[in-house]
């Protein structure tokens, strides 16, 4: 185990080497290499069936990998059963023992390791998750949020090298989920243990994790810090799954310099070459992407006031929905299709109603380029966009 700079860190690196899992002819996880640094909050993000839970279960030892090895704190644990691994899991529906009270649920792991005096530790742990007075209740007498905290306490009390969280907040309502996200983040910072968190909620992953691995079809599509993934998606799946993206098919008309010049639907767009994740040559197609909140809507009459050098496209407002903090527009751009635009509600322009002719414009810096050889719609089927809307509301 390499000593880390985190002062109170007790976690260890998790290294997955060429790990894969197949069930019959179905491949749940393709050979995967992944290193999760000690003390980090790591999220595996993806739609259901993408292999994220299988990956987590292989780290826990609940699933045996078809190929590859799992290394915890420098030790190969692939062949070890779960009860011999310094790893604890917070299960999706908590899996609390219904015949034991909260105190005994939390003490379970300590007692199994032959620790006699558990009282002090259990009480401290219950205080950490603010459940001290509930110690003698049975799990079914607690609310969902409280059960979730018991599940965390039951796992954390063992000071595992790694804490695995399998959709831990999935059963909670939106408000409680937000609260528990902050709570888990606080606990992680406090105890300094490596957290590996599986979720399908892109926002949850971005709020809590230091590093997010976006999984799709049993493979990691992209890995990085939340802001990095959001600003520089490498695939259409990531672009669509993390937030919402406008993706336009465009032809490269000029290449070679620091900026690519593209044409799409009659408009000329500029894209910084370093923000294009695929090598682009003149005459080839690329996908130009930009985030709805980076775009400014101007009424057609004000087109002259648009700053020089901005990418611009003319269109017509199709739908305008007032969300509170912002207004979300669907704009129809001839030859391109429908684009989303989110405008902060600062001095709303009363003329921007459905049917109005507008020009949308944005800084070239906010454009990213993707390989045109992939589906524009990858990652949109899930509820990734819906979650962002909830947050805006």
């Amino acid at each position: 185990m390499t000593t880390t700079s985190t002062p109170q860190s007790s976690g260890g690196d998790v290294r997955l080497h060429r790990i894969s899992k197949t069930y019959g002819s179905f491949t749940a996880v393709h050979p995967l290499d992944l290193t999760i640094p000690a003390g980090s909050f790591f999220a595996l993000l993806g739609a259901s069936g993408c292999g994220k839970t299988t990956t987590l279960r292989m780290i826990a030892g609940l699933e045996e990998p078809t190929t590859g090895t799992v290394e915890l704190a420098g030790r190969d644990v692939t062949a070890l059963p779960p009860y011999k691994r310094q790893v604890n899991t917070v299960f999706q529906n908590y899996a609390l023992f219904p015949h034991l009270d909260i105190y005994e649920n939390v003490a379970f792991g300590l007692r199994r390791r032959g620790i006699k005096s558990v009282k002090k530790q259990v009480e401290e742990m219950l205080d950490l998750v603010q459940l001290g007075p509930m110690a003698r209740r049975k799990p079914q007498q607690l609310s969902g949020g409280q059960q979730q905290r018991v599940a965390v306490a039951r796992a954390l009390i063992n000071h595992p090298e790694v804490l695995l969280l399998d959709e831990p907040l999935g059963a909670l309502d939106l408000k409680l989920r937000r609260q528990m996200q902050l709570e888990l983040k606080r606990i992680q910072t406090e105890v300094g243990i490596t957290f590996v968190h599986v979720t399908h909620d892109q926002e949850e992953a971005m709020t809590m994790a230091d590093t997010v691995a976006v999984m799709n079809g049993g493979r990691v599509e992209q890995l990085g810090a939340p802001a990095e993934l959001y600003e520089n998606p490498a695939t259409t799946f990531v672009a669509n799954f993390l937030g919402t993206s406008n993706l336009i098919e465009a032809e490269v008309t000029e290449a070679g310099g620091t900026e690519l010049v593209l044409t799409a639907g009659g408009a000329t767009l500029r894209l910084p070459t370093r923000r294009c994740s695929t090598p682009a040559r003149k005459g080839e197609k690329v996908l130009a992407g930009f985030r709805p909140e980076k775009v400014v809507l101007a009424h057609a009459d004000d087109a002259a006031a648009i700053p020089e050098g901005h990418n611009r496209m003319a269109g017509r407002v199709k739908i305008a929905s007032f969300i509170g903090v912002s207004t979300q527009y669907v704009v129809d751009v001839p030859g391109v299709g429908e684009l989303s635009v989110y405008e902060q509600n600062i001095g709303r322009d009363g003329r921007l109603v459905p049917g109005a002719d507008i020009v949308l414009h944005w800084e070239p810096e906010h454009t990213f380029g993707l390989d045109a050889d992939q589906s524009l719609l990858a990652g949109t089927v899930g509820d990734a966009g819906a979650d962002l809307d909830e947050e805006a509301a």
């Binding site: 779960p82 009860y83 529906n93 899996a95 199994r112 063992n158």
Partner: protein, 312 residues
């Protein structure tokens, strides 16, 4: 009955209209009692009435020729108990051993069906229930053939000198199995095994398999997981199964009759012969009451001790 219930629908709208007088229609309030009626009638005619009749019989004196008269002769109870206590003790003993054997055989079987059988689950369940397709009597008679003196089972046990060991322990005699305690207990175990397996299976099947994973994740070895999680959670099934096995086994007389000898007579055999051969109805009735009271007392203590009301 359906014809008298037919006018009910027209009343429903008046209730929907939420009249100021909140009066539940009488007919509606009586529905639960109507539903209870057939069951209660059945119990009164076939349980309560015979019980009263039997209680009065147990306190009568006389003979079949002279007729029985109610003389409140409580001494019958003490006499019956004094004379037949060995059969009582034997009944409880055999039933207890058979129940323990059923639990030891049935638990692994139920566990297997609940957690490991996969797509074979239904087939195994049918195999467990299959014996019910033939009569209890026939199945017990079949055991008489299986355990017959010259049969392959006894032959094999003799060849392996197992019967020497069991005879030394006093559960068989010489080189035979029939007409020994072993045969009777085997018969009881066999006949009541499904009554143990079914409730055990039901309660094991309800256990969330993720609890096993959680226990493993929390450093419990498979054996510890069983002791600390699986078994405690299956307690309702264990209690139900042992009761369903012990109660009928304690009152059984077919197994002792067909597989045992006079030395293996259980209390059921005594009651049967008092009623049908000796024709001493008061003693037979008194013995039945003592058996019922004894089982009731034991079951009450058992349920209290096992604390099932504390389980989910």
């Amino acid at each position: 009955m359906s014809t008298t219930e037919a006018p009910a629908p027209p009343e429903a709208p008046t209730e929907d209209a939420a009249l100021p007088i909140r009066k539940t229609p009488t007919r509606k309030r009586l529905v639960p009692y109507w539903l209870l009626l057939p069951g209660i009638l059945w119990l009164v005619v076939f349980f309560a009435a015979p019980l009263v009749y039997q209680a009065s019989t147990s306190l009568q004196t006389g003979s079949l020729e002279e007729g029985f008269k109610l003389t409140w002769h409580f001494a019958t109870y003490w006499d019956a108990l004094a004379e037949y206590w060995p059969q009582f003790v034997r009944s409880v003993g055999y039933a207890a051993i058979a129940t323990v054997l059923c639990l030891l055989l049935g638990y692994p079987l139920a566990y297997l069906i609940a957690f490991k059988a996969g797509r074979w689950r239904n087939l195994v369940m049918i195999l467990v229930i299959a014996p019910f397709f033939t009569s209890f009597l026939i199945r017990t008679l079949a055991w008489k053939t299986i355990l017959a003196d010259g049969g392959p089972v006894v032959g094999a046990l003799n060849a392996l000198h197992i019967l020497d060991v069991t005879s030394a322990l006093g559960i068989t005699e010489g080189h035979r199995v029939l007409a020994t305690p072993l045969a009777v207990v085997c018969g009881l175990t066999y006949n009541f095994l499904p009554f143990m397996v079914l409730p055990l299976y039901t309660s094991l099947e309800r256990i969330d398999p993720r609890l096993h994973e959680a226990a493993g994740d929390l450093y419990a070895r498979p054996a510890t997981t069983f002791r600390r999680v699986t078994f405690p959670l299956s307690m309702p099934g264990v209690v139900a199964g042992t009761l369903l096995t012990f109660i009928p086994a304690a009152g059984d007389y077919i197994n002792a009759e067909l597989l045992g000898s006079t030395d293996q007579k259980m209390i059921g055999n005594v009651i049967q012969s008092q009623f049908l051969r000796v024709l001493d109805y008061p003693t037979a009735a008194a013995l039945s009451f003592i058996l019922m009271a004894a089982i009731l007392a034991m079951v009450t203590i058992y349920i209290r001790k096992s604390g099932t009301e504390d389980l989910v």
